[in-house]
């Protein structure tokens, strides 16, 4: 059927309700197109179309907007800019650079500002890796740029381009200058025909945020993401390319853990999405990360970090977009062959934004007012994680690990967002307020949490750290589980009911909890424990346990074993620096000596 096309200037607002605006006369509108709303030119996105009426979620505060004001479609979907210059940046939910906005408009965020996300003026030293005449295809590396001292930015052949390099340049260029020309070999796409099949390539590229970036194939994750957090790495590891969630009530430590992982995890690129949380938490990252040093290179961690900050009081629709903005940027670096980690704090706030918009669209509400498609959206988001073979001839591997905080009302795990998340993610770090009140941090419950990557990473850990890594882990876990049932007995009939061996188990479990699981994120040394140190610590605790067990069998009194002198050293072994790892040798020796002294 032929439609009457009216000129786009006819599109006008007919309704304003918070972040939702309805416009009529939107004949050219496509779903998820970006639009400019009202005289202020506020940025919005089409999320529903009924005949010529489009519902638009507006990414900026809408007060002052009224019916009759014009709406302009850009005919392009909401996209992010990709290219050198992203690193160390801080952006809002739709990738507007907050630091530059501040330079322009001062301390408060005002409306109607559009600024390019990637600096157009800065020149980068482009070093080509291909020569004229080379055949390239999508995903191949054309050349590199030292984006920050920590990150080499690889300039890739953009999506849909394949052919022969006609021109490749070397030298200093801005992101909008042409660095290569490719003669497309395959029958050129219709829109390229006019350029005679020659495609000019610039460093600046765009990608629609709601579309996953393509890969050749996905592989099962096998290598752990080492976070330096003992409870995670030892007991509930997440693999590079895996997914994890961390639900918990307020104040239980979600943000502290995600910050610690962002700082210390052995990923090459970090994208931190502050999605509807506190302003000061973003400031904290901004101020701390330039000071924290990468353990390997000694460079400031900010040089590998990108931040998306759409705090709770910033426009709610942009919060909805923020996780897509973040993950698209992350995919872009993954495509270069990097190990990228994304953290989203908190996905509940994202879901609430979704709920608010859905409510204003008057959609049929599902559970707790969330839209029925909540589960699908959550799954789609986490599905963008993975260990992949990137596009391109070289079969590069890249990984994208996604970790999300979830903030259920009252800490209640039956919350729809928690449930939808648990259906998709493979690692569950269960925070518990009871532990937080006792200042047992990280307040991750060791009995309820799980990781489905244990089998995946076993081989790697066995090879890289120690053969018996998984064995030690399982023994420690068994002790913790036994303690749980023994504590039940203690609560009912008192400690006397336990046999000496059982009392020893309780004692060892206490040591595992306090000397191993507890880790102070604010202590300069304890904040990060390398795998080698984790292994030695766990080994010490279990060695003491086993030798004590033997001693018990030989008739040594339990009291003697509970008051060994070496315990004081074990209490403090978390503060041993990595470079002094030999100290563990002497602790082990002392354990032996002291216990032998008792059994003689």
């Amino acid at each position: 059927m032929e439609r009457v096309t009216t000129s786009p200037t006819k599109a006008r607002i007919i309704k304003v309700s918070g972040p939702l605006v309805v416009a009529e006369g939107m004949v050219k509108a496509k779903m998820y197109d970006m639009v400019r709303v009202g005289r202020m030119g506020l940025i919005g996105e089409i999320i529903e179309i009924k005949e010529d009426r489009a519902s638009i979620q507006v990414y900026e505060e809408t007060s002052g907007l009224g019916p009759g004001e014009p709406v302009e479609t850009t005919l392009a979907p909401l996209s992010v800019e990709l290219g050198p210059g992203l690193m160390s940046g801080i952006y809002d939910g739709i990738q507007r650079p907050l630091d530059i906005i501040r330079d322009k408009t001062g301390s408060y965020i005002t409306r109607g500002i559009t600024l390019p996300a990637v600096n157009r003026k800065k020149k980068w030293d482009f070093i080509p890796l291909v020569k004229e005449g080379d055949e390239v295809r999508t995903g191949d590396i054309l050349g590199t740029v030292q984006e920050t001292p920590l990150v080499i930015h690889k300039v890739l052949v953009p999506s849909g381009i394949e052919g022969e390099i006609r021109v490749i340049k070397k030298g200093r260029f801005t992101v909008t200058q042409t660095i290569a020309k490719v003669r497309t070999s395959s029958p050129p796409a219709p829109r390229l025909r006019r350029a005679g099949g020659i495609k000019e390539i610039r460093m600046l590229q765009k990608w629609p945020v709601r579309r996953e970036r393509m890969v050749q194939k996905k592989l099962p994750p096998e290598i752990p993401l080492v976070t330096g957090q003992r409870v995670i790495d030892t007991f509930f590891p997440v693999a590079k390319g895996g997914t994890a969630c961390i639900p918990g009530p307020f104040g239980s430590g979600k943000t502290v853990i995600l910050h610690a992982i962002a700082a210390w995890a052995d990923a090459q690129i970090i994208v931190y999405i502050g999605c509807g949380e506190r302003g000061n938490e973003m400031t904290d990252v901004l101020l701390e990360f330039p000071k924290l040093k990468d353990p390997k290179t000694g460079r400031p961690l900010i040089e590998r970090t990108i931040m998306i900050a759409n705090t709770s009081n910033m426009p709610v629709a942009a919060r909805e977009a923020s996780i897509y903005t973040g993950i698209t940027i992350a995919e872009y670096y993954r495509d270069m062959g990097y190990n990228v980690a994304v953290m989203a704090d908190s996905t509940s706030r994202w879901a609430e934004a979704l709920r608010e918009i859905s409510g204003r669209l008057e959609e049929m509400p599902g559970e707790e007012g969330y839209p029925a498609y909540l589960g699908t959206r959550v799954a789609e988001f986490y599905e963008r994680a993975g260990r992949v073979v990137c596009q391109g001839t070289k079969n590069r591997e890249g990984t994208l690990t996604v970790m999300g905080a979830v903030s259920p009302p009252g800490g209640d795990l039956s919350d729809p967002v928690v449930q939808a998340t648990l259906r998709t993610v493979k690692v569950f770090w269960a925070l518990e307020d009871r532990l937080a009140y006792m200042r047992h941090f990280p307040a991750i419950n060791w009995l309820n949490s799980y990781s489905l990557y244990l089998d995946n990473v076993e081989a790697y850990l066995g090879k890289e750290i120690a053969n018996d890594w998984m064995k030690l882990r399982n023994i420690a876990m068994a002790i913790l589980q036994e303690e749980d049932s023994l504590q039940e007995i203690v609560r009912l009939v008192g400690k006397e009911a336990l046999s000496p061996r059982e009392q020893l188990v309780v004692e060892t479990a206490k040591s595992i909890r306090e000397d191993y699981l507890m880790q102070d994120a604010f202590h300069e040394i304890d904040v990060y424990a390398p795998l080698a140190k984790q292994y030695r610590m766990l080994k010490v605790i279990l060695e003491l346990h086993h030798s004590s067990e033997h001693a018990l069998e030989k008739g040594v009194f339990l009291e003697k074993l509970l008051t060994l002198k070496i315990k004081e050293k074990i209490d403090r072994m978390k503060y041993i620096e990595e470079k002094n790892i030999r100290e563990f040798d002497s602790i082990e020796k002392e354990i032996k000596r002291e216990i032998e002294g008792l059994t003689k």
């Binding site: 309704k15 000061n280 009081n313 009939v493 004081e568």
Partner: protein
């Protein structure tokens, strides 16, 4: 010329629908003139074509469809600011109620404010000494923090808030200080307690009060905290003052929000509160903080009463998810006569890590806090065990811990309503308690501090 409409078609709860309008903007303010010439104010909540939905701050009682006139003013609610605000008392919509002269504003500011750019924030690190050990020692408040008091009906939160307002200071500094107080739906008596206390101590001179009482229009409460914070922002970021904002009672604010949501027939969230309550509350709480390059600061102490003392009720729950910690009051402690009845275990100050330690409070502060937390928690656990199994079931060590936890409540937490403890006094008190347990059990304190401070308090 401002157009007048006589076209109200619906009145429901606090909402009216005005038809055949043109040029109306979302969020703008409306004046509704009743047949009696009384003028009320409202705000545009939604516009569909020529229909504007308006929420009336003073309610719709006495309003009728045919005789009421509506004027749209083309701007949001504004507060006229000037230094003359100090020492004055206003109603919940910012009109003077103290009999003083009208304020001649230096300028007018939209009360909704704009979000602070995260890159413009400066991290709060300056220790505020409140003189209350349970706060200073265990859940330290810092300048620019938002730290609410979670209270319950009948608990002494007004006394605690007033004591903080009276005693709060930053060590070693004399600076311009102000208190902005916003009352939402509290009783005359409670409001009067604050006003009297501010008068008694002379604090009223540098205080600004916005008062919406229990019998004042409920919807007005939506505007009250925003007026207060607009005033605070002016004093802090334009006049370099350190402003302490007390908002009480946020529970009444949230209930007003629920009332509007219900009148709009929105899909209710938990317990009938709207799904956007988190976002709405954040636009209040996130207005605390410090800004780079500005001398002043806004520290917020919102007070809320937890319905049925339930921390998981949506109001405390969503507040806790936004604020930087919480001070929780406990009814059992209150019953035992402990003032202030602060339950330190579930209380939390998230900004304390950067506000304590060497050059701020004292080097041993962090360790002492952690150790006291651990000991107190263990003592309480032991006491619970004793309730089930009897005192005899406890080991000697557990008995000591149980005793320590009692002492902690009686000597450390409890203090006088006018007692202003220095941070040294608070920490020394902590060390004194820690002498009760064997040194080998002080796992959370660095050896050097044990050597330095434990001996001292032994002497």
């Amino acid at each position: 010329m401002v157009k007048e409409y006589l076209t109200i078609s619906h009145i429901a709860g606090p909402l009216i629908l005005v038809e055949e309008t043109s040029g109306i903007k979302y969020g703008e303010i409306a004046e509704i003139e009743l047949a009696t010439k009384e003028v009320r104010r409202g705000k545009v909540l939604e516009i569909t074509a020529d229909k504007a939905l308006v929420q009336l701050f003073e309610g719709t009682t006495g309003l009728n469809v045919y005789q009421s006139r509506v004027r749209f003013l083309g701007k949001g609610i504004e507060l006229g600011v000037s230094m003359d605000l100090l020492g004055r008392i206003f109603d919940g919509l910012g009109r003077p109620i103290d009999g003083g002269p009208k304020i001649i504003p230096e300028k007018r500011i939209d009360i909704n404010g704009n979000p602070i750019n995260p890159t413009a924030r400066d991290y709060p690190t300056e220790f505020i000494q409140t003189g209350i050990s349970a706060i200073d020692g265990m859940n330290t408040l810092v300048r620019g923090q938002k730290l609410p008091i979670f209270s319950g009906a009948g608990l002494p939160h007004p006394q605690i808030a007033a004591q903080i307002a009276r005693q709060a200071r930053v060590l070693g500094k004399e600076e311009k200080f102000a208190v902005v107080f916003a009352a939402m739906g509290i009783t005359f008596e409670e409001a009067n307690y604050f006003i009297t206390d501010f008068r008694r101590t002379g604090a009223i001179e540098r205080a600004v009060l916005f008062v919406n009482l229990a019998d004042d229009p409920a919807i007005e409460r939506i505007a009250t905290p925003r007026l207060a914070l607009t005033c605070a922002e002016y004093l802090a970021f334009e006049k370099d003052m350190h402003v302490l904002v007390i908002l009480t009672d946020m529970t009444n604010y949230a209930n007003a929000l629920r009332e509007i949501s219900a009148a709009r027939k929105e899909v209710p969230g938990r317990r009938g509160y709207p799904g956007y309550m988190y976002t709405d509350l954040s636009t209040i709480y996130e207005r605390a903080g410090r800004i780079k390059g500005k001398k002043g600061s806004i520290t917020q102490i919102p007070i809320l009463t937890m319905p049925e003392d339930d921390k998981t009720h949506p109001i405390p729950d969503l507040t806790g998810y936004i604020t930087e910690g919480q001070i929780i009051l406990s009814r059992p402690l209150h019953r035992r006569g402990v003032y202030p009845p602060i339950d330190v275990l579930p209380s939390l100050s998230r900004l304390k890590e950067k506000g304590v330690g060497k050059d701020k409070t004292r080097e041993d502060h962090g360790d002492v806090t952690n150790q006291l937390f651990a000991c107190y928690a263990r003592g309480k656990e032991a006491k619970e065990l004793a309730i089930i199994l009897g005192e005899a079931a406890l080991t000697e060590l557990d008995k000591i811990y149980a005793k320590l936890s009692d002492k902690f409540e009686e000597e450390f937490v409890a203090q006088g309503g006018d007692e202003n403890r220095s941070i040294e006094e608070t920490l020394d008190l902590g060390w004194k308690l820690l002498t009760m347990i064997p040194t080998s059990d002080l796992k959370r304190i660095r050896d050097e501090y044990i050597k330095k401070y434990l001996k001292q308090s032994n002497q």
